[in-house]
């Protein structure tokens, strides 16, 4: 075997090994998503519209694609191979279980709620399945954008009251954190060391995330426990911030007293120097 033939054989063997490697296959699967391409050609709107709705939604941006929920082989170019159960294809998944694959904590909270018993499609009932909007506090409560009002629109409905209560609790913690952050930033800009308060604010923000998770149990009392924990941290932050403001005022007062004394001393020195100069003359 000549050197050239040996090199060519090694190259072919190497390429074959790479192509057969599971890592290469996985990388290909991740980069090729043919679902949208094929489904765009279908005439049935139920099959054609989901990929269009998903494009640019919260999951699309997070890198979660069709096969992550529906299974199958997104790299395949024909329908049979794409919908092969051997590739984990499960068709239309249950909203009660599929979301929980990733949103474990939210699903756990939801399971304890009254809605778990009446929502057939679980999470999908409020959030939908394709074209999901980014979550925000506006989805909670009884305002125009809120999801709760689609069922609880009457003011005497306990669900309406609960939605309002929960939104008020979340707003209270969020506004508390915002105000605390503003105070700490102001004090920090003035040169007061606020490392501990900044750390506490991070902790308070974690509580806000936990509170937003707790919302999915739809229990205002349980939510208040988490929110109140966060508010206690915010109170500590504000206390530290106010101490900083007082410290600043104290420093400024001290400085002015010191400057006044210095000025007095300087004036006295000037008189002394003039006196000395007159004596020399």
């Amino acid at each position: 075997m000549t050197g050239l033939t040996a090199t060519a054989a090694a190259a072919v063997l190497g390429a074959g090994l790479v192509l057969l490697s599971p890592r290469w296959a996985a990388a290909q699967a991740a980069t090729s998503n043919n679902c949208a391409t094929c489904h765009a050609k279908l005439s049935d709107a139920r099959l054609k519209s989901p990929p269009q709705a998903v494009a640019g939604d919260v999951h699309d941006k997070a890198g979660v694609h069709c096969a992550d929920c529906h299974g199958g082989n997104p790299a395949a170019t024909d329908a049979t191979a794409a919908h092969d159960p051997a590739h984990g294809y499960r068709g239309k998944p249950s909203g009660a279980t599929i979301c929980a694959t990733c949103h474990v904590l939210l699903a756990d909270k939801f399971k304890t709620s009254v809605h778990a018993q009446i929502f057939e499609k679980a999470c999908v009932e409020c959030h939908g399945n394709h074209g999901i909007k980014p979550p925000s506090d506006a989805l909670l409560g009884t305002s125009k954008e809120a999801l709760c009002t689609s069922c609880h629109s009457e003011k005497d409905d306990p669900g309406f009251t609960a939605a309002n209560q929960m939104r008020a609790s979340i707003d209270r913690l969020r506004q508390g954190i915002d105000a605390g952050s503003g105070l700490i930033a102001r004090v920090k800009n003035a040169g007061i060391e606020v490392g501990d308060q900044e750390l506490a604010l991070t902790e308070a923000r974690t509580r806000l995330v936990l509170a937003r998770t707790e919302v999915h149990a739809f229990n205002p009392a349980a939510l208040d426990v988490v929110v109140n924990d966060g508010m206690k941290i915010v109170a500590g932050v504000n206390q530290g911030g106010n101490r900083g403001v007082a410290e600043l005022a104290y420093r400024r007062r001290g400085l002015f007293v010191f400057l006044a004394l210095t000025l007095l001393f300087v004036v006295a020195l000037v008189f002394k120097i003039r006196d000395l100069d007159r004596t020399r003359k």
């Binding site: 040169g191 007061i192 060391e193 606020v194 501990d196 400085l255 010191f258 210095t262 300087v266 000395l276």
Partner: protein
């Protein structure tokens, strides 16, 4: 008071000191105001020593504790914030005063014979101040100082021949780590102060032995028989010096209260390099020049060539009294005046441009 002086006099014979105090005078001429910069530099150096010693009481020189200890100083220790801010601000004012002192001596040709050694010791003192600034910048162990030290020590690596060993020596290894911090701490609080104290003593001794220099014009008039007026150092001049020091103290206090030195985030070697990394202002001109240099000039690495250039400039600065032959004969030397003006203009422009560019 006189009883105490008599008691000490009886044991130590203070006649020499008394004579020195009575005889020491400061020449009076149009440029005498520049003399105050020397005293101001010395005063700020003493402020640095005093505030530095106070900081030492709480500072802990390890990568695990340095940042936290500075945080503790500024947030928990009574007046710790004031001491730290005075130390930081005073360091900057000290360099500014030292620059002012050096340039005033340069333009008044105060380095001319027989004061060559006073100039040389003064220039070396300025270099030591840079060393203090560079080593002290890292001590709070925050993000900015960490990455600036990385860049700064990296530049030392560009020094021809000894660059890599020098960089490894400064860092205490291949990279900036806790070992660098320990090293910089030792340099900042022991090695540099020891050398600096000796050099300051020597510098002051030279000044005392030779008296204050007077401008060339005044010296020529003196040679023609004119008597240059003298002001007694004690108490006339020293009172004026104290007045300047008081103004400096007031300025320091105001800066510390209104513009405190931010501590920033703790250094994290794995964090991405934050935006706005730049050295202290007195290194900005050099830093910006090195940044502007092309990667290669005439086959030599640009940064290396820049370092060589600054090394040469430093050597010329030290040797100024020996190069300016005209001044040593009390003759005007406009070439050196122009050279000084160009250097001053370059430093000001490149510092400003470097500040806004980074």
């Amino acid at each position: 008071m006189s009883q105490i002086v008599d008691w000490v006099d009886e044991r130590l014979n203070l006649a020499g000191v008394r004579h020195f105090m009575q005889e020491k005078g400061v020449p009076i001429h149009a440029q005498k105001i520049w003399y105050y910069l020397g005293g101001l530099t010395l005063f700020l150096f003493m402020v640095q020593v005093a505030s530095g010693i106070l900081l030492l009481l709480y500072y802990r020189p390890s990568s695990a504790e340095a940042y936290e200890s500075v945080q503790f100083i500024v947030s928990q220790v009574e007046f710790g914030w004031l001491i730290r801010n005075i130390h930081s601000w005073s360091a900057n004012l000290l360099i500014l005063a030292a620059f002012g002192h050096m340039f005033s001596v340069f333009f008044l040709k105060g380095y001319r014979k027989p004061r060559e050694l006073t100039w040389v010791s003064g220039v070396f003192l300025l270099f030591l101040m840079f060393g203090f600034g560079f080593s002290g910048y890292l001590l709070p162990w925050n993000e900015l100082s960490f990455f600036a030290t990385k860049v700064g020590t990296g530049m030392a690596g560009a020094v021809p021949i000894v660059g890599t060993p020098l960089m490894r020596f400064l860092r205490g290894g291949d990279d900036v780590t806790g070992a660098t911090l320990s090293r910089f701490y030792a340099i900042h609080v022991a090695i540099l102060p020891a050398i600096c104290t000796m050099l300051v003593g020597l510098h002051l001794l030279f000044v005392q032995r030779q008296g204050m220099s007077i401008p060339i014009k005044a010296a020529r008039r003196q040679r023609l028989g004119e008597r240059i007026k003298q002001m007694p150092f004690f108490p006339d001049y020293i009172l004026r010096d104290v007045l300047v020091w008081y103004v400096a103290i007031a300025l320091l206090a105001a800066l510390a209260a209104f513009y405190p030195w931010e501590l920033g985030k703790k250094a994290d070697a794995f964090a991405p390099v934050p935006a706005g990394i730049r050295p202290e202002w007195y290194f900005l001109a050099v830093f910006h020049t090195l940044k502007l240099l092309p990667s290669h000039v005439l086959g030599i690495e640009g940064e290396r060539l820049g370092i060589l250039g600054f090394g040469l400039a430093a050597a010329i600065l030290v040797a100024v009294p020996f190069l300016d032959r005209r001044a040593s004969k009390d003759e005007p030397s406009p070439a050196f005046t122009v050279l000084g003006l160009v250097a001053l203009l370059y430093l000001i422009v490149f510092t400003i441009v470097g500040y806004f560019a980074s």
